[in-house]
Every structure is written in structure tokens, then in C-alpha cells.
Amino acid sequence: MLKTTPFHPRTSALVRAQTWRRWAGYQMASAYDPHPDREYAAIRSAAALIDVSPLYKYRIAGRDAMRLLDRTITRDMTKLKPGQVYYTPWCDADGKVVDDGTVTRLDEGSYRLTSADSSLRWLHLNAAGMDVRVDDISERVGAVSLQGPLSRAILATVSPLDLRSLPYFRYAETTIRDIPVGLSRTGYTGDLGYEIWVDAERAVPLWDALMEAGKPFGLTPAGVWALDIARIEAGLIMMDVDYYSSHHALIEQRKSSPYEINLGWAVSAGKGPFNGRRALAAERTRGAAWGFVGLEIEWESFERLFAAHGLPPQISNVAWRASAPIYDAGRQIGYATSGCWSPLLKKLLALAHLRAPYFTPGTRVELEITVEHQRRRANAVVRKLPFFDPERKKA
């Protein structure tokens, strides 16, 4: 049996078509409706409530807590202020990405790390000789993501916190209808949004409070299908979909450095010793062999492939997660790892790994797609990520 999240008593009653999927060993709603259109629309137009409890969560405290994290992640922990959040990858000694997640400085001396994969052993290995305590709080803490342009308006009705004082990637502790919560201005949608952290025992009342407060604002529970489209538009990567954890990769070629997955910005060149520092410095000097970029598939060329069979273009309302080869003049130069039709941008999008120098924005390439059982190639243009970056996200 898969585990259920602390919100399960509420979410399970809402999944109309029993469309469940697994996420880190948990049972998660793909969508509450039989299809994700309305849930996706809520993320971009009103507000959506997304159970993200399956994230692994660790509380790290003690004299060397900061040192441990600084040694683990690629960003400079000495600059993380209390109440601030980092999004960051972390690497092995070869500079290959193990995982990505967030680090929150909860107060002066304690931190919370979230990750896609279980990280306890890795943290312990890195903590050798340090005075630090790492607690796996994954099951003790429920997490729900409130995303969308009206998310702030909803929170304002239930929380005493001055939300204007909580900028992008900041964290505060407050209450929601008297339930103590941690509130971070973060999310996986690229929109205005918050993630709310709560004791698992209080998860259900929190859900109820948010749903009730959110009703006049069109708050809609959303599942992974809707989230997947939003995160592709936002150019946010997913471990073991867009890149392999170096701990999972069966062969060397499957590993990626932060530079190769568009996370070079999160590698602090000037910070003290950390995992992969030497390898990453060398890679920075010689330039990354791969780039991770957005692809915009040219509609006319896509449509022509279908028209040749008398078909209109077939597009799905669910994102795809599969590897699709990318060519330049007949030679394979990379592969796409996920993609979708963006209902907002009205474009076909993909996330792709491309060899140097093809990852330069504006480069024209060809993406393999299958039309009527036949492999075809559609024209596509390399775009800088994210595809969608509204002002409200940071406003």
C-alpha cells in the first residue's frame, strides 16, 4: 500500500475519477476532476490548493547546522538570513546533482530542508564530525501549496500576518484560523503563491479553513496533472523526469551538473568548501557541455505533420514525460524530457537538454514527434526559461 498524506481524509473525498498516482511513496491525486483543465486554470486565474506533503522534509539544528548545509548545497548558506528560503541543488563530489529542493532558515539556528528524494543518509554522511541534529520530519509535517493570483487575498482573510511583508522566497510563522503554520512565499508553479507547513495532526482543519476561506475566491483543489503544466511553463525541473539524481543514475552519462540543468545561477563560486566545488569550478572554466532550455514547437510545422494525414493537431491536456530526440540537420543534438500544451500561452512547450552550442536562445532545431504511428520532426525554437514569468510572482 502506498502511504497517504495528512490531507488524505479531505482529498480522497474529492478525487472523482479515482485518478491517483504515486509521489515519493505516497498516494497523490493526479486530478480531482477527470481531467485537469479547470484545476490548471485555477492556478493561473484564481487560486489552487495542492497537497505537496510527499516532499521529504528535514529539520536541521545544532551548532553546526549551517555548516552542514553549506557543505551540502551549492548556494552560500552564510548569506541566508532568518526567515529566508533558498531554492538550491546539491551535488556529489563530482559536481553531479543529487537532488534539488529548498532550505529555509526557520530561526537563528534551525533550518528545514525539503527534497524530492530521501536525503537522511546523505545528510548524515556530510555531517560526519559535526555537532548537528538532523530530524526526518517528513511524516510529522503536512505541506499544502496555495498558488495563484488570488492566493494572497485568500490568506489575508485567515491569517494575521501582514502578507505584504513576506516577499518572494521568505518565510514566517503565523496562524491560519488559530492553527499554527509556517508560511513560505514559494511554490512549484511560477505564480504568486505560498506553501503552508503544518503539524500533520492539524492538517485537516487547515485544509477546511483554507477551502472555506477560499471559496469566494474560486479556490480549487488541484492535482499533479495541473501542477505539471504549471511547472513546465515556469521552467521548473523535476528530479528523475528532467534529470537523474546522481544517486539513481545507472550510467555516468545520465548524470548532470547544475550547469547542465539550468541551475548554474545557484552555484556560488565564492563560497567555502562544498560537495563538488572543484569539479564545478573546472566545468565553469571550460563551459558546460550541455544546456537545459525551453523549446517552443512551431505550430504551423506541427499542424502540417497532422494535416498530411487529414488530421487536426492532436494535443493532450496532460503534460508528457518521455524522452524525445532533438535534431539539427539530421544529427541528434539533444532530447526533450517533458512538455505540454500551455493553455495560457497557447503554445506547445518542452523542456530539453541540448549540446553546446545549440542551447543558445533562438536556435532552430527539430523535435521528434510521432504522428499516426510514424516518426516525424517538427520545427522548434530554443527559448530561455521560464516560458511564463508574471510580475505578480515576486510583487
Binding site: P34, S45, A46, L344
Partner: protein
């Protein structure tokens, strides 16, 4: 002296804005002049009652051409279309008929009423898909004149002929039937359950002074199936913020390409010298010269108000005089303190996020038409009801709602003429009819806006309040829209062009007329 503008577009409706954006995109210095303070023509959102945004006239979108969305990058300028998933028809016996977003749920629902129709719907859907594919190339072409022997027309006709031959006999025959039959007769060939036929045939009467049993309405039905949102035919959606948001997004794209847009700038007439348009005069006397003038207004205004009929051939003036407008629909917009509770599906379920269709039977619709035929508004009208605030909560204050009610029939030429009292009586009829299905409605109304075809004409300028700038009747389509020989966006006056929905391919928030006009202008005036 070279005029400051290459082109002046008269009318900031969506087609005018589309034409302007395409002209400017090709480097033409373009000015749009809109009479009202707000852009969009019949695609406007206005805060008629404080805190409540009404999508005053048009209210849903499906037909907007995908190539326009792409070419003008409308999503960057605010286009955001939200799903409108269901249609529920309350029945007189207290039950309902629903079409949901999920095909299996819809099928199960249809089975409740007629298992045979549930099967038929699948095959019918496939046929409509083929029909939409069949007319799609026509939507994107400048209509060739079948009586002309010019190389351009012949090429167009050949292309068209080839296209129709490629359909094969079965689809060609189906298309012919759709072009000639009444929607009720056509649907009779497919379905048995009355409310299903009624709800589907309602698409065939919208904006038209015809009943579901009038020949020609099957085409209007198809016209409503031709939308291609997100690659799927027949997908209808709701623009965030109302249809004014679509106009604003097109205006944003136009401005980004360098178009100058002036609102509250009513054009008095087009200046014509020696058979050539030379600019416009605004009300108040300001003259603005330009190399060409493009009218986004309907054919009547384009040919008989903006220019002197004496500058036009008699045959055209006559054809325009005969062009049928005869607006047949009204609109009621309500500000509500809460949600209506429909007796057939009590509570606040998903049906409130879709359309509610008051179309219990074909007889009901035909009787509604009978009233209009004899000069009265329908005592029991057809209505298409949407609650925009359920789809986009920002349309109303939190917890409050707006309701958009499209009503048919309300004839432009009402016996004795429209008066304030008759408008209110019409509004009462609408509210009373909905209240039969949702009894709490009356207690929720905070504000009511009632719009008759006369109001639509007065506010938007649309002649006789016809929402399509002229009926989508077969004799007014394609190379006959708006008049024989003048269906290619040209007029007999050099440098004077037309780009409104009164030209091919016609009404709805489609933008195709504006785009095709601009392309024809760019092709012919280097």
C-alpha cells in the same frame, strides 16, 4: 504632403483592432478611431454596477482564430481563456439534461434519457468534426467571386473545388445538408430526445431572426462548431475579465506594433475625393488624412453613413439596403448577492461553472420565435445563461456573482417600438422565466441591466442590434457577404476598405474578417 497615417481604422471593435494590428505589424502607420470611451465594440467589459464587471454583450469565446492568437501573441497581452465545461438544460418535469466536460460522464447522462442518442452523439460529434475541418480552409480565404474570370478568382475557385472534391461524397453531402436544412430537421435525422435536439438546435438560431425549423439554421449551428480553441473543435471558453479582455489584448498587441488608438473619437464621415478615400472627419470637425480608410463598422454604416451613397454604384447601395440585420436577441446582465439554486440540480455544483440553457424543447424554441415573428418579444424565451464570476471570481466581489443571460427572441422591430416600459417588461420576462427553474433568483438581484436590440444599436452602433453585423444567412455568406462583387474587403471607393463581421467569414469573436482584410490590403497596396 504625406499624411501622417497610412491607414485609419474606423471602429475599435475586435475586427478593427485585429486589422490595425496586422497593418502595423507590416509597417503601416495606423490609427484606430473608436467612438466610445471603451474599446471592443460588442466585446467589452464594463463595471455597470460598482464592484461587478459585466461582459456586457458577447460573453463567451471559441471562434477566435488560432493564427491571430499566435501572430499577435495575444497571451502576452492578456488573452487568458478559461474553460467553460458544461451545458445544463433544466427540463419542465424537474429533471435536467447535462453535457459535461468528460465524455464518459456525458454519455452516461445521455443514456439516462436515450441510450440511442448517447450512441448517436458520438457519431454526430465525429461528423461535426469533419464538417468543421471541411469549412476550415474557407474561413482562412478571401472569397473568390464565382462569376469572375480573373486569375485570382479562378485560382481561388479551383482551390475550393479541389478541397470539396477531397472531402468525398459522404462529407460533401453532409455539408450540403448543413448548408440548406433547418437545424431542427437536421437534428431530427440524428436524435430522438427532444431537449437534446432543442439544446443543440439553439446554436442554430443565435443571432438570427429564424426559428429552429427555418431552413438555413443548420449552418449557424455549424458556425458555432468551428471554434478551435486549443486544437479542439467546439471548445468554448470564457476570457478572464470578460470579453473586453480579448479586445484589450488585441489592442495591446496593436499598440506594441505601433498602432495609435483614440477612444471617444467618433468618425463623422470618410473623406472621398475623385473616387478615392483621403481620410476621415471626426464629429467636431477634426480632419485626419490617411492613405487608406478601413471601416470596421457593419455594411449599412460602412456604405450608407460613413460615405455618400452617391459615391457608390446603385447595385451595391441596393444590396446593402436589402442586407438583413433584424437583430433578434437581447441581453440581461445581473449582479447577484449569491448563487441561484436550480431546482433540477440543487446546490452549488459544477453546473454553475458552465452554461445553463433554457431550451426544454424544439417546440419551446419555435414558439419563442413565433412571438418574434409577429413583432413581440418571446413570452418564454430561449436563454443561454453563464455565471462568469464562477469561472473568474474577479468579476464580482468575493462571494457575490454576475450572471450573463443571452436572450432570444427580442425583435428589433417590436410592435409599437421599444420603450423603457417594454424594456423592463422584457427584463421581467427573462427573470421570471429563469426563476421558474431557480426560484431564489429574484431575491438575489442587486442590479439588473437589460439590453434590447435597440440598446445594442444605440450603444455599439450595430445596425438593428444584429450581433453578427448582419445575419449569417446563406444568401449573406462567403462571396455574397456583404454584397456580390464586394466580398473581398474592397469597396468601389479606392482606398476605402471594410473589415467588420459584415464581411466573410462573419460574426462571433473570430477576428478572421479583420485579419483577411488586412492581408488583402497589404497585398494590394504596397
Amino acid at each position: 504632403m504625406t499624411p501622417r497615417y497610412d491607414a485609419i481604422v474606423v471602429g475599435g471593435g475586435h475586427n478593427g483592432l485585429v486589422a490595425a494590428a496586422y497593418l502595423a505589424r507590416a509597417g503601416r502607420r495606423t490609427l484606430v478611431l473608436e467612438r466610445r470611451h471603451v474599446l471592443g465594440g460588442a466585446a467589452v467589459t464594463e463595471e455597470i454596477f460598482p464592484g461587478f464587471k459585466f461582459t456586457v454583450f458577447s460573453y463567451v469565446v471559441s471562434l477566435l482564430r488560432p493564427e491571430i492568437i499566435r501572430d499577435l501573441e495575444l497571451p502576452r497581452h492578456g488573452l487568458q481563456i478559461l474553460p467553460l465545461e458544461s451545458t445544463v438544460t433544466p427540463l419542465d418535469n424537474g429533471d435536467y439534461l447535462a453535457g459535461w466536460a468528460d465524455p464518459d460522464e456525458t454519455r452516461r447522462e445521455l443514456c439516462r434519457h436515450s441510450p440511442r442518442d448517447a450512441d448517436a452523439a458520438v457519431v454526430f460529434g465525429r461528423l461535426m468534426h469533419h464538417m468543421a475541418m471541411a469549412v476550415k480552409p474557407i474561413l482562412g480565404m478571401v472569397p473568390p467571386d464565382p462569376t469572375s474570370l480573373s486569375p485570382g478568382d479562378l485560382a481561388g475557385l479551383l482551390k475550393l473545388g479541389g478541397h470539396f472534391r477531397s472531402l468525398g461524397p459522404e462529407r460533401f453531402h453532409a455539408l450540403h445538408k448543413l448548408m440548406t436544412m433547418s437545424s431542427a430537421d437536421y437534428l431530427d435525422e440524428w436524435f430522438e430526445f427532444g431537449p437534446l435536439k432543442a439544446t443543440k438546435s439553439a446554436s442554430g438560431i443565435i443571432g438570427t431572426f429564424l426559428g429552429p425549423r427555418s431552413p438555413g439554421t443548420a449552418y449557424v449551428l455549424l458556425h458555432h462548431y468551428m471554434g478551435e480553441l486549443d486544437g479542439a473543435f467546439r471548445a468554448w471558453g470564457f476570457q478572464k475579465g470578460g470579453t473586453g479582455g480579448i479586445s484589450e489584448s488585441i489592442a495591446g498587441a496593436a499598440r506594441a506594433h505601433g498602432v495609435t488608438i483614440r477612444t471617444s473619437a467618433a468618425v463623422e464621415r470618410v473623406l472621398v475625393r475623385n473616387g478615392q478615400a483621403t481620410g476621415v472627419v471626426l464629429e467636431g470637425g477634426e480632419e485626419i488624412p490617411a492613405k487608406i480608410v478601413v471601416s470596421g463598422l457593419d455594411p449599412r454604416l460602412t456604405f450608407t453613413r460613413l460615405v455618400e451613397p452617391k459615391d457608390l454604384p446603385d447595385s451595391l447601395v441596393e444590396a446593402v439596403r436589402r442586407f438583413k440585420f433584424r437583430g433578434s436577441s437581447g441581453k440581461v446582465n445581473l449582479a447577484l448577492a449569491g448563487l441561484p439554486n436550480f431546482t433540477c440540480i440543487p446546490g452549488e455544483g459544477p453546473h454553475l461553472r458552465g452554461a445553463v440553457s433554457i431550451s426544454p424543447s424544439v417546440e419551446y424554441l419555435e414558439r419563442a420565435y413565433d412571438d418574434a415573428k409577429y413583432g413581440e418579444f418571446s413570452r418564454h424565451p430561449y436563454m443561454d445563461i453563464v455565471i462568469p464570476s464562477m469561472i473568474d471570481p474577479s468579476m464580482a466581489p468575493p462571494g457575490k456573482h454576475v450572471m450573463s443571460v443571452f436572450v432570444q427572441y427580442a425583435p428589433y422591430n417590436l410592435n409599437g417600438g421599444w420603450t423603457d416600459a417594454k424594456r423592463e417588461a422584457f427584463g421581467d420576462t427573462v427573470v421570471d422565466t429563469i426563476a421558474r427553474y431557480a426560484p431564489n433568483l429574484k431575491s438575489l438581484i442587486l442590479h439588473r441591466q437589460v439590453l434590447t436590440p435597440l440598446d445594442m444599436e444605440r450603444i455599439t452602433g450595430l445596425s438593428e442590434g444584429n450581433i453578427f453585423q448582419g445575419e449569417l444567412a446563406l444568401q449573406q455568406l462567403f462571396f455574397l457577404r456583404p454584397a456580390p462583387r464586394w466580398a473581398k474587403y474592397r469597396t468601389p471607393i479606392r482606398g476605402y476598405w471594410q473589415c467588420g463581421a459584415g464581411t466573410h467569414p462573419g460574426g462571433g469573436i473570430m477576428g478572421a474578417s479583420g485579419r483577411l482584410a488586412a492581408m488583402e490590403i497589404l497585398r494590394s497596396t504596397p
